[in-house]
């Protein structure tokens, strides 16, 4: 029972966090919001999660969590790779700018 209370508190904190935190994209906010609501639903009653699964035509609540888990992993990987790409570009530009600033000109050397 105590673990149930802990998890509900954690999901509730996530939900409040999703409302308060300034996100760059609405998609990220919705993802955290829906995820935390589903988390709370799974804890307070399987029947609620089952209703959502039925509504989506998935069949079982367990499958709903499995699919959501997989989608989360793939999205996380995609966002992380995208962030790496952006970071790489910034590093690349910085290195190139510095290299040009610090160029060595020996062309007139005798």
């Amino acid at each position: 029972m105590i673990f149930k209370a802990i998890f509900i508190t954690v999901f509730a904190i996530f939900f409040i966090y999703s409302l308060l935190r300034p996100f760059q994209s609405l998609f990220a906010r919705l993802f955290l919001m829906i995820g935390s609501i589903l988390g709370i639903l799974s804890l307070i009653g399987v029947s609620y999660a089952q209703s959502v699964a039925d509504f989506l035509g998935i069949g079982r609540a367990a499958d709903l969590y499995l699919y959501l888990g997989l989608i989360t992993i793939f999205l996380y990987v995609a966002f992380t790779l995208n962030r790496f790409d952006t970071l790489n570009k910034k590093i690349s530009n910085l290195v190139k700018e510095l290299a040009i600033l610090n160029k060595t000109d020996n062309s007139d050397q005798k």
Partner: protein
């Protein structure tokens, strides 16, 4: 001696060849710019002893990044009319560099691409020829061009078109990106034959055939984003 045609050499760990390549080129070209892309061998020390402008990347970024740095530097030089990109592993001939320099000063096109597939192509290793053909096919499809070679390091570009080309791919895929932008921005181009010298060293130093997949991946990603 050409004094308004710049030679641009991207370099990564070329301690064995770079001195010979630069000494050969310096007999024909006054301005040689070498971009050392984070070499970890003695290339840097060798470059310091040679009469060149040398730009050093503090970390290894890739050939595309090296070319991009070189273009940025050369585009700001007042006396620069054109730039010829030249590989550091000794697989390009000085005669070709001379022909490209002569042609770019008098032709109306803004870019001359080197092609290993015009004229004799017996010296291209069989497997390399197949992989190159696939990359050329997709590059032409993506870019709506009709080139016979897509990843030849020897090319000549007028400085007027350097500002129109924005290289964002740091790796080998930059060659396809240049072609893509040339087509998209309506930059005039032509091809000239090159005589590529495939030695054991240049084969070892050159692109691995599996890089063809990375080039295609870059091309695909770039195609989607544009």
């Amino acid at each position: 001696m050409f004094d308004n045609i710049y030679i641009l050499i991207p370099v990564y760990n070329e301690e064995r060849q770079i001195k010979n390549v630069i000494e050969g080129l310096s007999k024909i070209f006054k301005n040689i710019v070498v971009v050392n892309d984070g070499s970890t061998d003695s290339t840097e020390e060798i470059l310091k002893s040679l009469k060149v402008v040398h730009i050093k990347h503090s970390i290894n970024l890739g050939q595309g990044a090296a070319i991009s740095s070189g273009f940025k530097y050369i585009s700001k030089q007042k006396n620069a009319h054109a730039v010829i990109t030249f590989d550091a592993d000794g697989q390009h001939s000085l005669d070709d560099a001379y022909s490209f320099a002569t042609e770019i000063t008098k032709c109306k096109e803004e870019i001359i691409f080197g092609s290993r597939f015009i004229g004799k192509k017996e010296n291209i290793p069989f497997l390399k020829r197949i992989v190159l053909s696939i990359v050329i096919f997709f590059t032409n499809k993506f870019s709506r061009t009709n080139l016979t070679d897509a990843h030849n390091g020897l090319k000549a570009l007028k400085v007027s078109c350097l500002n129109k080309i924005d290289i964002t791919i740091d790796g080998f895929g930059f060659e396809s990106q240049i072609i893509h932008q040339v087509s998209k921005k309506g930059i005039s181009y032509k091809e000239m034959p090159t005589n590529t010298i495939y030695t054991d060293y240049s084969k070892k130093k050159g692109q691995k055939l599996s890089n063809g997949l990375i080039i295609l991946e870059d091309l695909f990603k770039h195609g989607i984003r544009k």
